[in-house]
């Protein structure tokens, strides 16, 4: 579904992303972890053609992202608040996105109805504009909007941050369901290792722009990641500690 080849992004002399080869098959739930500055958001921005790659390219479903716009109909994302239109009510925002994705009002109504649990009565019919909602509620609205129109690729940057525990648990269910039952490719980044390991079937670790680990999630993954990040500067040392404990 998604292929990145020789992808680099350089600002001045600093290379912030350098991925030689990465392939994400359709229907995979893909997790991206890494410390601040690891290149997670850079990768997502490249995927959405919000910035230009220095070398290489990304191919999304046979469409080269930086030269054609044909990836837009089947790709959706929520990166941050700049994906929200502050002066609309959540409903108006959903309809707006729906119309852009060729959904009529009834389609959108049906979809947001199925997320009523997730909204917890704090989004719909509040007589508030999006800009006046709390950060967490804004996020809920943005995440659900990215599900409108059955996209084949959904990109969520830090979806768990700012959410309350109940919503985090529900979101995990939603993401798993998307990948498993609707064959949607979901890309999630997170700083919360336990969330990603629970949700994603595959986890890639970025460090200073480089792809360090590519793990198929198993029972041992969380432990492995925790050990890695407790001494992330020197991966070899981390392994050494791990061996000592044995």
């Amino acid at each position: 579904m998604i292929k990145a080849q020789n992808l680099t992004k350089t600002y001045g002399t600093a290379t912030v992303l350098n991925i030689e080869n990465l392939e994400i098959p359709k229907g995979q739930c893909f997790g991206l972890v890494g410390n601040n500055g690891a290149g997670k958001t850079t990768f997502f921005s490249l995927l959405l053609d919000l910035i230009q790659p220095t070398t290489g390219h990304i191919i999304n479903n046979d469409v080269q992202v930086d030269s054609s716009e044909a990836w837009k109909p089947f790709t959706s994302a929520f990166i941050d608040e700049s994906f929200l239109i502050g002066y609309l009510t959540p409903e108006e925002y959903f309809y707006f996105i729906g119309e852009l994705r060729g959904q009529n009002k009834a389609d959108v109504d049906a979809l947001i109805h199925s997320f009523e649990d997730f909204f917890h009565g704090e989004i719909l019919n509040q007589k508030k504009y999006l800009r006046d909602l709390s950060k967490g509620n804004q996020k809920k609205a943005g995440i659900v909007a990215s599900f409108i129109g059955s996209p084949e690729v959904v990109i969520l940057d830090e979806p768990f941050a700012n959410l309350d525990p109940t919503t985090q648990i529900r979101l995990k269910g939603i993401i798993k369901n998307l990948a498993a039952n609707q064959n949607t490719t979901v890309l999630v980044s997170s700083h919360d290792l336990s969330h990603v390991t629970e949700v994603c079937e595959r986890i890639v670790v970025l460090d200073k722009g480089n792809l360090i680990k590519d793990i198929k999630t198993s029972a041992a993954t969380l432990k492995e990641l925790e050990i890695f990040f407790s001494g992330a500067e020197a991966p070899d040392a981390a392994v050494a500690v791990f061996e000592d404990e044995e």
Partner: protein, 490 residues
């Protein structure tokens, strides 16, 4: 403590994104500022002699007579654009500072505002002229300080009434009514207010009154802020009850309609675009200056077309100028959504065209001034739709200035709005139609001039698709730079 506050202020000024414009621009802005300062100075010096020459009576008394309107106007302008001091308080709240200090600092900041000391450029030279002309020095000094105290009263009144539309607009309405009464000779409020201003000169001890008022207002503002210095009270942004609107009649326009619906909401619900809309309405009356003898240069035939362009193109200049910056807050969304650039640009174009047509219809009152006056508006409208609407969209690709929709600050000019490319693009918007008209006017007659300008507009419309292709390419090319620029919050 003060040292810390001052250094914060210093940094926030010199490190602001808008300050880092290029040198040429700074020099240009410097010239603008200088021009206004000199203009004010001349007004200050000249006002005395002008009034004397016009034989309106004693200059000081004439100025005092109209002083009340100056203060109302001053309040109005402040209310619209002066920024409230609360904006940067939040990060100071949980630091080990006494609340009182923070409030004093914030209020103190408003004292240094240009809205206050800017008046010095007028009142200082005026007072000096009064002294030279032999007015009683003690009286002049008292008057001068009294007026300044009143300007500062205005400053703190504005701080206190901020965001209370229900108080503010009725007051303004009353004064407009009073002004009308005076003009038509029904009732003259200045008969009651002028004695006070004259009193400042005649009885210098009266200067104590405005100063007591300033101190009183300062502490009123101080107490008000201190009491409301909580996140859910005074520091809370203004929240409005959301109303959903059904604009589904626009659905017939497909994707363009989707954007149109959004743009209408944008204009109705945000302060800054609302101001732009209001200003475009005022442009309708700009044409009254032409051919009426109000401004001499404007009576030349070629200037008629200049007026015509502005009358119908108010919206084009106030709103269209800043496309796509209106969407800057959520530009990343727009760029990753299932949107064709073509639809996006087309919808903005329609919005501008619809507004131009409405303006042209509203401007039909120019028919009272003769068919020629309205013809100029009509021809201007055709040129606006055919040529200027494209130029404005083209210019937008280069402006790249993030707009804070909820604030009116900078609504009246922004440093970044001036750059060479937009300046160059504004030439054909205004100068070209005047040249075309002049060619027709001087070689044949006025009618030919009008026909030529209209023809240029129609030609522009005919080439719309080709022009849109070009604009689309430029927008795409500039896309990454634009996204990057919009991320830098002003």
């Amino acid at each position: 403590m003060l040292k810390h506050f001052l250094s914060l202020q210093w940094k926030s000024f010199f490190r602001s994104a808008s300050f880092k414009t290029n040198l040429a621009l700074k020099i240009l802005m410097g010239f603008f500022a200088l021009y206004f300062i000199v203009a004010f100075l001349f007004m200050g010096v000249g006002a005395y002699y002008l009034i004397e020459k016009a034989e309106m009576g004693d200059p000081l008394q004439v100025v005092n007579k109209y002083m009340i309107y100056l203060f109302v106007l001053d309040l109005l302008i402040r209310y619209m654009i002066q920024k409230m001091p609360i904006t940067n308080i939040k990060p100071l709240l949980y630091l080990p500072l006494k609340k009182g200090q923070v409030v004093h600092y914030s209020l103190g900041k408003t004292i240094a505002s240009f809205f206050n000391w800017g008046y010095a450029f007028f009142f200082l030279p005026f007072s000096i002229v009064l002294l030279i002309e032999g007015y009683n020095p003690l009286g002049v000094v008292a008057w001068h300080f009294g007026i300044f105290a009143l300007i500062y009263c205005s400053n703190f009144i504005n701080v206190l009434v901020n965001n209370k539309d229900s108080v503010f607009y009725p007051v303004i309405a009353v004064f407009i009514a009073l002004g009308a009464c005076q003009y038509f000779g029904v009732f003259d409020i200045t008969n009651y207010t002028a004695p006070f201003f004259n009193g400042l000169y005649n009885a210098p001890w009266m200067v104590a009154l405005p100063w007591i008022a300033v101190v009183g207002l300062y502490f009123a503002a101080f107490n008000y802020f201190k009491k409301n210095m909580y996140l859910d009270a005074g520091l809370k942004g203004k929240q409005t009850v959301a109303r959903t609107e059904d604009l589904s009649f626009l659905n017939r326009f497909g994707n363009t309609g989707t954007f149109l619906k959004n743009d209408i909401k944008l204009i109705k619900r945000n302060k800054r675009p609302k101001t732009a809309g209001l200003m475009s309405f005022l442009f309708l009356f700009y044409g009254l200056l032409f051919g009426s003898g109000a401004v001499e240069v404007y009576d030349g035939p070629i200037w008629q077309i200049f007026g015509g362009i502005f009358v119908s193109g108010g919206f084009l200049f106030t709103f269209g100028q800043f496309v796509p910056s209106w969407d800057s807050a959520y530009y990343q969304l727009m760029m990753s959504q299932n949107i064709k650039y073509r639809d996006y640009i087309t919808s903005k174009w329609y919005l501008i065209v619809i507004a131009t047509v409405i303006s042209t219809v509203l401007a039909s009152f120019y028919l009272f001034f003769g068919i020629n006056a309205y013809l100029a508006v009509l021809v201007g409208a055709i040129y606006n739709i055919g040529v200027n609407s494209h130029l404005v969209l083209l210019g937008g690709a280069f402006i790249k200035m993030p707009i804070d929709l909820t604030s009116n600050k900078k609504a009246f000019g922004d440093k970044q709005a001036f750059n060479m490319k937009t300046m160059l693009l504004s030439l054909p918007k205004l100068v070209l139609p005047m040249l075309i008209f002049a060619a027709g006017y001087y070689f044949v007659n006025a009618t030919t001039g009008y026909i030529l300008v209209a023809a240029a507009g129609i030609l522009g419309m005919a080439f719309r698709n080709i022009v849109f292709d070009k604009i689309e390419k430029i927008y795409k090319k500039e896309k990454y730079k634009t996204i990057h620029a919009y991320k830098q919050k002003a």
